[in-house]
């Protein structure tokens, strides 16, 4: 594994890439949220990661501290459902990175993150939320590393693939959680915004990791 400074730079690069991507996808995410939510997911996510990207000079210390600050910044900038879900889960999972980013700590981070999202939001797979993208991604990542012994980058690529299937899977579902649940059967046929933003973030992580 690379030294702390290299890892820190990779994390900062990832933050920039994610911020840029979410800003580029702002109106797409908002359109998804217009159909079955309240038309703010794009604004929420790009405001949140925009704030994180502007704070990169404060992002020093160990990797886990850097990631924790990402989480707390999201908590205090995003609001809505996605703020505590994204921010709180990143903050919580950051503890797993105490020893830096390795294949093992990455799996632990991913698991802790998923746990916290489910703990907070109480959504199951099939509730038509970000959980539907996250669960297959985390499961795939864990198995690729722990059982199939694949290199982390390959494992991450497979996880992105799984997340994308999860996103597509949300389309035909009737929502049980989040604002889309208020629509009852009218949520069927629409893609979940939070699952989509989860996928976008993972795609950027893969992109940066591949460099």
């Amino acid at each position: 594994m690379a030294d702390t400074e290299t890892q820190r730079e990779a994390v900062l690069a990832a933050i920039d890439a994610v911020a840029e991507r979410l800003s580029a996808e702002k109106s797409y995410l908002t359109d998804l949220d217009s159909a079955i939510g309240d038309a703010d997911h794009g604004a929420n996510m790009s405001r949140g990661f925009g704030a994180v990207a502007e704070k990169t000079d404060e992002l020093d210390g160990d990797i886990d501290d850097v990631v924790k600050t990402v989480g707390t910044t999201l908590i205090s900038e995003v609001g809505g459902a996605s703020g505590p879900l994204y921010g709180g889960s990143i903050m919580f999972a950051s503890q797993e990175l105490e020893g830096g980013i390795t294949a093992e700590t990455s799996v632990a981070f991913a698991e802790a993150y998923l746990d916290k999202v489910q703990d907070r939001g109480d959504a199951q797979i099939g509730s038509k939320t970000m959980v539907d993208a996250l669960t297959p991604a985390v499961h795939t990542f864990k198995k690729s590393i722990e059982q199939d012994d694949l290199p982390p980058l390959t494992a991450l690529a497979k996880a992105v693939d799984a997340a994308e299937r999860g996103v597509n899977f949300t389309v035909p579902l009737k929502a049980k959680k989040g604002r889309a649940s208020y629509l009852d059967w009218r949520s069927v046929g629409h893609q979940d915004p939070g699952a989509t933003s989860t996928l976008f973030i993972m795609e950027e992580l893969l992109d940066v990791a591949s460099e």
């Binding site: 159909a35 038309a39 609001g79 459902a81 703020g83 049980k176 604002r179 208020y182």
Partner: protein, 331 residues
């Protein structure tokens, strides 16, 4: 769509400054936060009652700050729950040592952020209690879903909790009466048009000239059902029956009713709805103690309305009638 704004990103911030500029003797903004509190908060010897949520529902929530109602209101971005640290600052600013009741509308974002804020405030030794309002009868309640939304009935919770706190009651008592309202109130809403958020600048959903949405919330989301255009009387009947089915009241029960405008509906039309609503209350042999009509809980410029019915006993009547001196509600 055109709006009287400068930049969508600044609208909440400028609104809050504009409110304080209008009522400097009543309202104070917490420095660096999107939170308004009573100019004299915290009020000595009184439990604090606070609320908050996404902006775009004006006069909710800051319009209800004042004697006999709220001590503080946190304003998130449009339709986005405020963040936990904003809520935490509000709670702290409104605690005079007697504890604080948070009135939360049942949305996952609001609930999660208020919970976190409560935990944060508890770490600072503030006694915090929550009541979660979920009066929207359009959405089915179930353990496995997000449940019902908190909508216009929330105003009655503010009023009752605020009045109880003004009496000098302790936190548990204030919470008890707030929950009594939650247990006895139902609301059903409809829209003739979508609203337009400053960020998106276009209607959140499209609705034909001969269609309407039933079972809408207050965030510009489509309703549970699209229907053909109806007359005001038919609409009122539909909304009222849904609420009464849910509440299942005994004949002779006393109630308070609200016809709430969604922001873009001329007041004229709200009174047309109220005319039919009061006839229906009569038909159902319900005793109307008070009938409220106005824009209490809005969705920006949406055209439409909601009907709220709340069963009241002597205690609730007294608290609803008690004095209140806020911008949007005076008793």
């Amino acid at each position: 769509m055109k709006k009287l704004i400068n930049d969508p990103a600044d609208v909440v911030d400028e609104m809050l400054d504009g409110m304080v500029a209008a009522y400097p003797d009543r309202l104070r903004r917490l420095d660096g936060y999107e939170v308004l509190v009573r100019a004299d908060a915290p009020v000595d010897g009184k439990v604090g009652v606070v609320s908050g949520g996404g902006s775009g529902h004006e006069p909710t929530h800051a319009g209800y700050i004042g004697d006999g109602m709220l001590d503080g209101a946190a304003a998130g971005q449009v339709f986005t729950s405020p963040t936990a640290d904003q809520l935490n600052e509000m709670v702290k600013a409104c605690d005079a040592g007697e504890g604080v009741l948070c009135v939360v509308k049942n949305y996952e974002g609001d609930v999660m952020n208020f919970e976190t804020a409560g935990e944060m405030a508890a770490m600072d030794d503030v006694e915090v209690e929550q009541v979660v309002v979920n009066d929207d009868v359009a959405v089915e309640d179930s353990l496995y879903t997000s449940g019902r939304r908190g909508v216009c009935g929330t105003i009655l919770v503010h009023k009752v909790a605020g009045a109880k706190a003004a009496e000098g009651a302790e936190l548990a008592e204030v919470k008890r009466v707030a929950e009594k309202v939650v247990d006895n109130v139902g609301t059903m809403g409809m829209a003739l048009t979508s609203c337009v958020t400053p960020e998106k600048g276009e209607p959140t959903f499209d609705l034909g000239e001969d269609e309407l949405e039933l079972g809408i919330g207050i965030h510009g989301e489509p309703g549970t059902q699209r229907a053909d255009m109806m007359s005001a009387d038919e609409i009122t009947e539909h909304l009222t029956e849904k609420v009464l089915d849910d509440l299942d009241l005994d004949s002779g029960q006393e109630v308070v009713t609200i016809v709430n405008g969604m922001g873009g509906t001329p007041e004229m039309e709200l009174f047309v709805v109220n005319k039919r609503l009061q006839e229906l209350m009569d038909d159902h042999d319900l005793q109307v103690h008070d009938a409220w009509v106005g824009d209490y809980m809005t969705s920006l410029d949406m055209m439409g309305c909601s009907v709220t019915v709340c069963a009241v006993d002597d205690e609730l009547k007294e608290l609803l009638d008690a004095p209140a001196d806020t911008l949007a509600l005076k008793r």
